[in-house]
Each structure stands twice: as C-alpha cells, then as structure tokens.
Symmetry: C2
Subunit: 162 residues, 2 copies
C-alpha cells in the first residue's frame, strides 16, 4: 500500500528478530514448567494469580479479561474449566446482575500459593536474573510501549501497569 515501505535497518531488524524469538519460546517454556509442576498453563496461572491479589479474591470477568490481556471468549472457556476443577466459582454480581464475578476458592488459593515459587524461579531464570537494573528498567519501558501501541491500535485501554 505505501509507495516505498520503510524497511527496517539492520539494528532494528536484529532487535525485532530477537524479540520474535522470545515471543515464540518464552510462553512455551513457562507453560511447560507450570504444567509439569502444577498442572496449570501460564494463562490459568495468571487468572488465579490476579484473583489472589485483589480484595475479596473476586473480579468481574470483563475486568479479569483486561488484567490478563485476553478475549472474553478465551477467558470464559478457561474460567469454566477452572470452575469444574473447583479452583474458583462464578456468581452473578449482586450490585448489577448483568456482570459475572469470579471468586477464588480456597483450593484455588492453595494452588496459586503452591505454584508461585516455581513460577517465580522460572521467571527469574529465563528473564530477570543476569540483567542489570538498567536493562530491566528499559525492558519495562519498552514492553509498556509495545503493549500501549497494540492496545490503542485495537482501540482498547492499555493495561494498568503501564
């Protein structure tokens, strides 16, 4: 469509290819650790972890979808499976029955608590450890920038941690 596309310079292309490699590998590596040790996917873990860090361990599904950068459709399926496993329950929001709230169960709480150390260790090993404080700072800036660009391209609000 553009007459003369602005190709990437070498230093830009290298950064992009490295990021692409990360994008393809890191999720499977974290999935593998959690699945092996706790029977959870990374996405499952994020859902439970978000609930565990919030007052009353309760969130509306639409808020949870924002927190986990996921579609409502995907979240609905995952929450259904987690409910069948007894990790949380769904209930209509008493304030406004149009909303559905997900409430973490005790079993769900215990599962997050059990899974957290191994997961954090994996995040340290794969990402954080071995980087300088400056590199971690820039990583945060860059990742926030990307998340913001993607969200605004899709006309959504950016995640709250940016």
């Amino acid at each position: 469509m553009p007459d003369e596309p602005r190709w990437l310079a070498d230093w830009e292309r290298d950064a992009w290819l490295a990021l692409a490699s990360l994008m393809f590998k890191l999720p499977s590596a974290l999935d593998a650790q959690l699945l092996r040790d706790n029977g959870l996917t990374l996405f499952d873990y994020f859902v439970l972890s978000n609930l565990s860090m919030v007052p009353d361990r309760t969130l509306r599904l639409s808020d949870l979808a924002q927190h986990t950068s996921s579609s409502l459709s995907r979240l609905s399926n995952v929450v259904k499976r987690l409910e069948q496993r007894g990790m949380l329950r769904r209930e209509p929001d008493p304030d406004n029955p149009r909303y559905t709230r997900a409430v973490l169960s005790d079993a769900g709480w215990e599962l997050v608590v059990a899974a957290a150390p191994g997961h954090v260790a994996a995040v340290r090993r794969f990402v954080i450890d071995g980087l300088t404080k400056e590199q971690v700072g820039v990583l945060r800036e860059v990742a926030c920038h990307v998340a913001r660009q993607v969200s605004e391209g899709a006309a959504e609000r950016p995640a709250r941690n940016c």
Copy 2:
C-alpha cells in the same frame, strides 16, 4: 521447593508484568494484520520469509525449525498446509535422503513480497517506532538473553541472531 523463594522486587515485577502483557498481545496483533491482509499467520510468514532469504530458497526442515523457534511437529503441519496451497514444495535432500528440504515456490516468493510491507509497517508501529536507538539496542540485548536462557534450559542451541 526452595526454602525461601526469592520473590520479585517491585521494579522487577513491573518489568515482568509488562513483558507478559506484550507476550499475550503482540502475537495476536501481528497475526491479525497478516491474516486480514494476506491470509497468513505470523508463523506462516516466518516460514516463508526464512526461505526467501536463503540461497536457493531452500532449507532442511530441521534447520527451518531452528530458525523459527518451533517444534518439528508444528513445522511439519504448517509446511504441509503451505505445500497444499502451493507456496512451497517438499523434496528429499539429494545429498542425504534422510533429510527433507522445503523449497519456496514462485507463488510463495510473491506472497512474501506482497506481505512484507504491511508486516514491516505493523512491526514499526507496534514495536520499533517511538523507541530511541538506545532502547532498541537494549531490547535486542534483553531479548537475546531471554532466548538464550530458554534454549539452554531446554538444552538446545540458541538462535543464530544472538
């Protein structure tokens, strides 16, 4: 398992959550652009693009799997579909019939050429543009570090661009 897990400090956790948000959103955003404009997933594009940049537009499947950070199983499926669409063909390696080579067809070449400008524009918009040269440099370092950590944890060789 560890007696006292080393939790993440706030500044580490913020960087990790931002990266996680990127990991969840960026692939779908790039998939969406390519799928809409050229009927390709990001992974399809990577396969064709790798072939297009190599002598004879030909690679062994196992090498291609390394280049695209994918399992052989996934690659085998994707290559089969791309072959059915006429974008490439498979043939036994004449040097060593144990290997299978993927050869980009003319239609495949034209598809990559047609898809590249829009894809590069998306990469610019979502990732590169708006960052300083220093940030892009650190992004490359960090992403290479992560890719290396993940690969060595899985006892594989790191990707060649690191």
